[in-house]
C-alpha cells in the first residue's frame, strides 16, 4: 500500500516543554492508505507527535510535509492542513451545545462554506458512516461514550480528510463500548483511509495495523509490521513495554 510519495512526512521534528524534551527529532513517512499504530509508555511523546501532525502543537524544529508540500512555515494556511488531516480525541471534545449533526456540520459550513442544506446532507452521510444517523438530533449528553466518539469520528470525516489522527480514541470508554469505535475504524481502514493511531488497543493493532511504531523518550525506538513488533521485537525497551501492557 505504498506509493512513491508519502502522504504525510515529518523530518527532524523536535518539541520541548521547558527542559522536558517531548520530541527528540522524529523522522517519519506515512504512505497513503496506511494504518500506523503508535505505542509507547506515557510521556513518550506519542500524543505530542500526533498533535504536531496537524499543528495543534507547534513544533520547535523540523518539517511537516503533506503530499510533499511543506506545511511547517508560519505563513502556511494552517486551516487547510487541518481540513486535510482530521483528528479524533481521547475525550471526544464534542460541542455540548450542538446536536450530533450540528457537531458534524459546523466546520462543513464555516470552513468548506457549504449551505446549511448541503452541510446537513454531508453531515448525515458522515453520521451514517459511523452508524449513528438516527442520533443526528441528539445532544452529546444524550449519547453513550461510544456514540459520542463515533460522532467525533464523523465530525472529522465530514471534511473528507486524507488522513485521520486518533489520539487514544478508546481509552475514555467503558470496555463494552470500545468495540463499536474499533469497528468504525476498521471500516475506515477498509475504505482506504490513512490513519495514525495512538492507542493501547494492542489486539486491534495486531490485526489491523500495517505498521507499529514504538516510541520512548521522544524518539522512535523501533518500528515494523505488527507481527514483528509484537512477537519478535529487537529492542529490550520494546519487549519490556509489551510485557508490561500484557501484549
Amino acid at each position: 500500500m505504498t506509493t512513491d510519495q508519502p502522504i504525510l512526512e515529518v523530518r527532524g521534528l523536535q518539541k520541548q516543554y521547558g527542559r522536558h524534551v517531548a520530541l527528540a527529532g522524529i523522522d517519519l513517512k506515512i504512505a497513503a492508505g496506511e494504518l500506523v499504530f503508535v505505542i509507547g509508555p506515557s510521556g513518550s511523546g506519542k500524543s505530542t507527535l500526533l498533535r504536531c501532525l496537524n499543528r495543534l502543537e507547534e513544533p520547535d524544529h523540523g518539517q511537516i510535509l503533506f503530499e510533499g508540500q511543506d506545511m511547517s512555515g508560519k505563513k502556511n494556511d494552517l486551516n487547510l492542513l487541518r481540513q486535510r488531516v482530521g483528528m479524533v480525541f481521547q475525550a471526544f471534545n464534542l460541542y455540548p451545545h450542538l446536536t450530533a449533526l450540528g457537531n458534524v456540520t459546523l466546520a462543513v459550513r464555516k470552513v468548506l462554506r457549504k449551505s446549511r442544506e448541503a452541510a446537513d446532507a454531508i453531515g448525515l452521510a458522515a453520521l451514517r458512516q459511523v452508524g449513528l444517523v438516527e442520533k443526528a438530533g441528539s445532544y452529546p449528553n444524550e449519547l453513550s461514550g461510544g456514540q459520542q466518539q463515533r460522532v467525533g469520528i464523523a465530525r472529522a470525516l465530514a471534511l473528507e480528510p486524507k488522513v485521520v489522527l486518533f489520539d487514544e480514541p478508546t481509552s475514555a470508554l467503558d470496555p463494552e463500548l470500545v468495540r463499536s469505535v474499533l469497528e468504525v475504524m476498521r471500516d475506515l481502514k477498509r475504505a482506504g483511509m490513512t490513519m495514525v493511531v495512538v492507542s493501547h488497543e494492542m489486539k486491534f493493532a495486531r490485526e489491523a495495523a500495517d505498521r507499529v511504531i514504538f516510541m520512548a523518550e521522544g524518539a522512535i525506538v523501533e518500528q515494523g509490521p505488527p507481527e514483528e513488533i509484537f512477537s519478535h521485537a529487537r529492542e529490550p525497551r520494546t519487549r519490556a513495554f509489551l510485557s508490561q501492557v500484557g501484549a
Binding site: L56, Y95, K110, Y139, N141
Partner: protein, 227 residues
C-alpha cells in the same frame, strides 16, 4: 388616634398618594428608561471587552484588568459624584441622566467582562482543540464554539449582577435625575410625610420583582444542560 391609624397616616396617607402618584409614575418611567439603557450598554461593552481580552494581547489585557478591578472596587456613588461634579471643571458638562448612564454602564461592563471572561476560560481546552482541528479559525471558534458555552455558564451571575446594578439607578437621586427615589424624596420634603417614599418602595417592588423572578427562571432554565 390609635396606632393603626397613625401608621396609615405616616406611610399610606390617601391624600398624599393621590397628590404624588403622577410624580412617582413619571419616576418609574425614568427608571425604566435609564435602567434599560444601562443594561444594554453594559452587556454589550462587557462582552466586547471579554472578547478583546481573549485575544490575549498584553497591553489590552492589562488595561481591561485595571478597568474592571477599579470599577468593581470603588462604590458607584463615588464615581457618580466624581463625574457629575468633577467633569464640568475640565469643561465637560454632562446631564445628570448622562452621568448616571455612563457610570453605571461602565460599572456593569466591568462586572460583565469579568463574568464572561471567567466563562470563556472555564470552557474546556479540548473544545478549542476540536474546533481548530477542523480548520475553524480563531474568530469562528470563539463565536460558534466557545462563546455559546461561556455565555450559558455566565447567565446566572450575569442576571443577578445586572439586577444589582440597575437598582443603583436610585443613586440618580443624589445628582437630580428624576427617577423614582428622587421623586419620592422631594415629595417627602414638601409633604413632611413618608407616604411618597413608601410609594417609591412599592414602585421598586412592582418594577424589579418580575425581573428577579425572570432572573430565577433564566438561572434554572440554563443551569441544566451541561455535558
Amino acid at each position: 388616634m390609635d396606632g393603626g391609624a397613625a401608621f396609615v397616616d405616616a406611610f399610606f396617607k390617601p391624600a398624599l398618594i393621590a397628590r404624588y402618584a403622577p410624580e412617582i409614575v413619571s419616576g418609574v418611567g425614568q427608571t425604566i428608561l435609564i435602567a434599560s439603557t444601562i443594561v444594554l450598554t453594559g452587556l454589550v461593552l462587557g462582552v466586547t471587552l471579554a472578547l478583546i481580552r481573549s485575544l490575549r494581547l498584553p497591553i489590552a489585557t492589562v488595561m481591561i484588568v485595571i478597568f474592571a478591578d477599579v470599577l468593581r472596587a470603588v462604590p458607584p456613588l463615588v464615581f457618580v459624584l466624581l463625574v457629575y461634579f468633577g467633569l464640568p471643571n475640565v469643561g465637560v458638562t454632562l446631564s445628570a441622566f448622562a452621568v448616571l448612564w455612563l457610570v453605571l454602564s461602565l460599572v456593569l461592563a466591568a462586572f460583565v467582562e469579568e463574568i464572561v471572561w471567567a466563562g470563556i476560560t472555564s470552557v474546556a481546552k479540548g473544545q478549542w482543540d476540536a474546533a481548530r482541528s477542523t480548520g475553524l479559525n480563531f474568530a469562528t471558534t470563539l463565536r460558534d464554539v466557545i462563546l455559546p458555552q461561556a455565555l450559558r455558564l455566565s447567565i446566572p451571575p450575569l442576571t443577578s449582577r445586572t439586577i444589582a446594578i440597575t437598582k443603583n439607578t436610585a443613586l440618580g437621586s443624589v445628582i437630580g435625575v428624576p427617577e423614582i427615589l428622587n421623586q419620592a424624596t422631594s415629595a417627602v420634603s414638601f409633604s413632611g410625610n413618608a407616604t411618597p417614599l413608601m410609594m417609591g418602595a412599592i414602585a421598586y417592588v412592582v418594577l424589579f420583582l418580575p425581573v428577579v423572578i425572570f432572573g430565577r427562571w433564566v438561572e434554572t432554565r440554563f443551569a441544566w444542560r451541561r455535558a
